[in-house]
């Protein structure tokens, strides 16, 4: 029996051994190739990421505005930035070379040593002189918060908690090191294996404050970006948490073009190179902007605004009428992009001038009289008025109520009136009464329809995230945001460009281009991203001619509203046509409120909101920053400006001047065979009357345009040289007036 049982045992063992042999046979003979591949893959070293150079941004003439220049950055491993338990343990166990003395040390001793070493590292990096120790630690905290957020979001998407690649990477804490600094940094970094100095690039700005808003900024990749990354499937193009991307201005608009494709280098542990894909630099982006024009107009604006007692800033936009290329997009005050980071706190706390606002596209203002030609056009096209229609202006719409629905000369005690006017006269004199009649005949619905056809209430197509669509108060809009009443009174208000309707300076310039050409088009800002579509507005040539004659008359007829202040000698071949506007400022423009709040990442911020009242500030805040918490008690008036109103005026107003340069013949008459080449609009915040304040600047702008773009107002003229320009203009004049 003993032997029998031994045999049973032996059979059992043989059976078990048989299973193992079968398994070995399966693995080593049948599936050897699979496992061989697996082993080979495991031998591949982690891929090295080769960063791509970001594309340059050039102006229309090819002059460099921003470029990526090689620099170096100091990167610190995420474990050290976050000092999480597992990370600390990891480093305590790593790298025998530098912890040679600690081979026998206990975990506690290792950890104490590691912590003192990281402290020493922060201290040394702080002493390096580019950023203080405190700033570096704050930076580290920011990075950690971002990565934590990415971690949370990725975990949510995957459905379980798991580490993300950002947690295994080094993150830049100091960037933009030059050659000398990087050598010093390298010797510093050699003390600690978790600090590395790596090749990088940084943005170098070749343009001044006129370009601050326009060029925009780079910012760190956030969890939202990663979540919505359209290139998530492309390992060379997907966004990584330690990268930067364009967050505003052109950097954001042309992000896809500017951003290159990373390279990748992989080799295995035997030194065989498996993959060596060079980084593909981003494309250069060429703007439609003329740098010389932009700089000159910024300078001009600075000079004029400095002279105005209340003005807080302004904007001027110049468009090529035919192509709608934006030749200048100036927002004043601006900021120098190269010193933005250092001056950020100052820039942000200037609540009066708000230099960070991109006024030319982001602020919307009541348009005032500059929509009047459009109102007339709507009346003509709808047939409610015709070219022979005359309305009698007696200073007020209802003579028995002379203090309501007044015309503009009938104010401040001066009881003046225009008498009987046709369309051209109505525009030339900017007669409110004419517009009241026309607008109430057309009605809100049709009027706003024509506003829409001219591009009001929608972005102009620049793609800038800063851009506001303005407000076109269609019945639908009124239904949603107002009491919804579509009344004749509203139509009258819109007829003179008041009420809910509001436009951005770039929309105003585009509106002028519509007047000049009869076509709506989107504005082009980047050569590589052009819009080609156009939408001709209806209207017969005589109707357009009447409108344009009105705009011509505003400046060029002796009784035009801007003749005194904006007239330029047509001997240069062009007549300035345009419209002034005074946009009454509701009280909301005077007061800004400071609201300290905490966002969902527990960052503390301060929002500056302009509002008529504390309650409205709350409402605006809740609309603008949904989900952020604030204590109503902390809301304080940040700034009230202008604090005191001049006695003779009830309200402050922003001053508009918008116009175009129309070709004229030798006698100074409009030429109907040529479309005006250039349109522009300018706005002066708290400037006062459009006719008195904005029109003279408009004249200056027109002169500058001729000076910079040459006598043909050619957008592609050779760059302007102030030295030669004075001769050039003189010669051009000389040819025309012998």
């Amino acid at each position: 029996m003993f032997e029998t049982r031994l045999k049973i045992l032996l059979v059992f063992l043989l059976f078990a051994a048989g299973i193992i042999v079968a398994r070995l046979f399966d693995m080593q003979v049948l599936h050897a190739e699979t496992y061989r591949q697996q082993a080979e893959e495991a031998l591949v070293l982690p891929a090295k990421v080769l960063p791509a150079v970001r594309g340059r941004i050039l102006d229309r003439t090819g002059s460099e505005l921003v470029s990526d220049e090689p620099s170096w950055e100091v990167r610190v491993h995420y474990d050290v930035l976050s000092m999480n338990t597992s990370g600390v343990r990891n480093w305590c166990r790593k790298s025998p070379a530098w912890s040679a003395g600690l081979n026998e040390a206990s975990d506690d001793e290792r950890e104490a040593w590691f912590r003192s070493e990281t402290e020493a590292m922060w201290h040394a990096l702080g002493a390096f002189g580019i950023m203080s120790e405190g700033e570096l630690r704050a930076e580290a905290e920011d990075i950690c918060e971002r990565v934590t957020k990415i971690h949370a979001q990725v975990s949510k998407r995957r459905g379980f908690d798991s580490p993300v690649r950002e947690e295994r990477m080094s993150h830049a804490v100091i960037d933009g090191l030059n050659d000398q600094q990087q050598i010093a940094a390298r010797s510093l970094a050699s003390n600690w294996p978790w600090v590395v100095v790596e090749d990088a690039t940084h943005r170098v700005y070749h343009a001044g404050p006129a370009f601050g808003h326009l060029l925009g900024r780079l910012g760190p990749v956030s969890s939202t970006v990663i979540d919505e990354d359209p290139y998530a499937d492309n390992p060379l193009r997907s966004y990584m948490g330690n990268e930067q991307l364009g967050v505003s201005g052109i950097e954001k608009v042309a992000e896809d073009l500017l951003r290159g494709t990373r390279g990748r280098y992989r080799e295995n542990r035997d030194g065989v190179v498996l993959e060596d894909v060079a980084a593909k630099p981003g494309d250069d982006v060429r703007l439609t902007i003329r740098r010389d024009l932009q700089d000159e107009l910024y300078k001009l604006f600075g000079e004029h605004i400095a002279k105005l007692p209340f003005s807080t800033g302004g904007a001027v936009v110049v468009l090529d009428v035919k192509t709608r290329d934006c030749l200048a997009l100036v927002s004043y005050p601006g900021y120098d992009p190269s010193t933005y980071r250092e001056r950020y706190d100052d820039l942000r706390s200037d609540t009066r001038h708000q230099p960070l606002r991109f006024r030319a596209v982001a602020n919307r203002y009541v348009p005032g009289s500059i929509v009047k030609p459009l109102v007339c056009l709507a009346g003509l096209i709808t047939g409610e008025i015709n070219l022979d229609t005359h309305f009698d202006c007696q200073g007020a719409l209802f003579p028995e109520h002379s203090d309501r629905w007044r015309c503009w000369p009938n104010q401040s005690g001066a009881r003046m009136h225009h008498g009987s006017l046709d369309v051209t006269g109505g525009i030339k004199h900017s007669c409110n009464i004419f517009m009241y009649h026309t607008a109430q005949l057309v009605g809100v619905e049709r009027l706003t329809n024509y506003f829409e056809m001219a591009g009001l209430g929608e972005p102009t197509g620049t793609g800038l995230i800063e851009e506001s669509p303005g407000i076109n108060p269609t019945p639908l809009y009124l239904e949603e945001y107002s009491d919804g009443a579509v009344t004749a009174g509203r139509a009258r208000l819109y007829g003179i460009g008041q009420g809910e309707v509001s436009v951005t300076p770039i929309q105003a310039a585009n509106l002028m281009a519509v007047y000049a050409s009869g076509e709506k088009r989107y504005v082009n800002l980047v050569e590589e991203m052009r819009h080609e579509a156009d939408w001709p507005l209806p209207g017969t040539p005589p109707m357009w001619a009447a409108i344009r004659r009105g705009l011509y008359g505003v400046v060029n007829d002796n009784d035009g509203t801007a003749h005194r202040t904006a007239y330029i000698d047509p001997s240069c071949g062009y007549a300035l046509c345009g419209k002034t506007g005074s946009a009454e400022v509701s009280r909301s423009w005077n007061v800004s409120y400071r609201i300290p709040y905490v966002d969902d990442q527990d960052h503390e911020h301060v929002a500056i909101i302009r509002a008529t009242s504390r309650n409205e500030a709350h409402e605006v805040f809740v609309h603008k920053y949904p989900g952020c918490a604030f204590a109503p008690g902390d809301v304080k008036v940040a700034e009230q400006w202008p604090d005191r109103l001049p006695e003779h005026r009830r309200k402050h107003s922003h001053a508009w001047f918008a116009g175009y340069l129309a070709p004229v013949d030798g006698a100074g008459n409009l030429r109907s065979d040529r479309t005006p080449p250039i349109a522009f609009a300018l706005l002066v915040e708290f400037g006062g009357s459009g006719g008195r304040v904005a029109a003279p600047i408009g004249r200056e702008v027109a002169r500058k345009l001729i000076e910079v773009l040459g006598p043909d107002l050619d957008a592609d003229a050779p760059p302007y040289d102030p030295q030669k320009a004075s001769d050039g203009v003189a010669r051009a004049d000389g040819e025309r007036t012998p």
Partner: protein, 422 residues
């Protein structure tokens, strides 16, 4: 007379020869791993380890000769004393684990476990010695008895077995504990315990498995889970619908990160083995095993190196060596008529066979990973010496053939037929 194999005519020599082959393969494999990780982030040259293994092997041979000279019978007379001594040696580890003290470095901690006593020059692993002490004590206890043929008689052997098992489990060292069962069952089975009793106990064990599962550490659970998760289709199914498979206890993370977490060692060991192919990459040619993918590749996972460098062929040679040891060991048990020798020989066979099967099973991915060495091949002083001790006792049995008038022991069927036992 029938012609008999060398293994059967000269079992002792055959075993020694097989052990030598295994030792050489082991040392060659340790050398092939180029460098050895001896601590967190600290590695040493494998040559040092190969030399150390060689020295210990020599010491083992000398020790074996001494043991054979003394003879197993004289040693076995002190079986209970040896067993008690081993139990005492286990106590420091239990105290260290319970009170988190190292007795001034005498009982060092490693990955949360206390398994060694640090002596000048070498580390003593009492749980290894316990294996031999246990075989001796069990054989000594069972040699003249018959009561284990009844269910109640099985109680005492099981209870006594529990004592060292609990102490070792406390270290914790689940792998070594699990080794006691095959020895116990193997010895009881061939000694003639009723199969139905043994099956009943196994059934009881299986029934209490869920209880054991609850008491297991997370890392132990994940090792068990990892075996099931080798199936890619299962992983995909679970990842697609973790809710539906919630009863398995695997969550989506187990599945998605299997290859870099719980399944890492399995994946690496299988890749090393499988990529060896039929005849292997050649000695010292496999970059894969030189890298630190496989922790413990010089001891627990040494078979992966064998498979990588010498392929299927090399694996078969190793298996053949073990087959020689086991068959020869059984032959020794059959040949002797001395009851203690019979049981002891069988115990040693069970010990070697169980260690081999568990180690190979985990290396090829059929069993959960436990800290089990491959006898004579894996690096490790205590384990090597223990195995030499066990083998020398086995050979000693073959050398000592007492002339006995009594009938061969454990032939219960015949005895029952003759009505000598009730």
């Amino acid at each position: 007379m029938k012609r008999r194999f060398f293994i059967l005519t000269q079992p002792g020599v055959a075993i020694m020869a097989a052990v030598m082959v295994l030792l050489l393969i082991g040392i060659a494999s340790i050398l092939a791993s180029k460098s050895v990780q001896i601590g967190p982030g600290i590695s040493a040259s494998s040559e040092e380890f190969a030399v150390k293994q060689g020295v210990i092997a020599c010491a083992g041979v000398v020790m074996s000769l001494i043991v054979m000279r003394i003879g197993y019978l004289r040693i076995a007379q002190h079986s209970y004393l040896i067993f008690a001594g081993c139990l005492v040696l286990l106590l420091p580890m239990v105290l260290a684990k319970t009170f988190h003290i190292t007795f001034g470095g005498l009982v060092p901690e490693s990955r949360g476990a206390y398994r060694w006593i640090q002596l000048p020059g070498f580390q003593l692993q009492p749980s290894e010695l316990m294996k031999v002490g246990y075989i001796l004590a069990l054989a000594w206890y069972l040699r003249f008895r018959a009561n284990y043929r009844r269910f109640s008689g099985l109680l005492l052997p099981f209870l006594v077995s529990l004592v060292p098992m609990v102490l070792i489990l406390r270290q914790p060292d689940l792998g070594t504990v699990l080794l006691f069962f095959p020895i116990l069952f193997g010895m009881l089975f061939v000694a003639g315990a009723q199969p139905k009793h043994l099956l009943a106990i196994i059934a009881l064990g299986v029934a209490s498995a869920p209880l054991l599962w609850l008491k297991m550490h997370d890392y132990q659970k994940s090792r068990v889970v990892a075996v099931a998760l080798q199936s890619e289709s299962l992983r995909k199914r679970i990842a697609a619908d973790p809710e539906k498979y919630a009863f398995t206890g695997f969550d989506k993370r187990d599945v998605m990160e299997w290859e870099v977490s719980s399944g890492m060692q399995l994946v690496n060991s299988k890749a090393a083995l499988g990529s060896g192919g039929m005849f292997g990459q050649g000695w010292g040619k496999g970059t894969y095993v030189e890298q630190h993918f496989l922790p413990d590749r010089h001891n627990d996972f040494v078979f992966a190196i064998v498979g990588h460098e010498w392929g299927f062929f090399g694996c078969m040679v190793v298996l053949a060596c073990f087959a020689v040891i086991i068959v020869a060991g059984m032959e020794i048990a059959v040949e002797t008529s001395e009851p203690l020798g019979r049981l002891m020989a069988l115990g040693v066979v069970c010990l070697i066979a169980a260690q081999t099967l568990i180690n190979l099973g985990m290396t090829v991915g059929l069993m959960p990973i436990t800290g089990m060495t491959l006898p004579f091949v894996s690096y490790g002083g205590s384990s090597l010496l223990t195995n030499f001790l066990a083998i020398s006792l086995l050979i000693s049995v073959s050398q000592y053939r007492p002339f006995m008038l009594a009938k061969k022991p454990f032939e219960w069927q015949r005895l029952e037929a003759e009505g000598q036992v009730g």
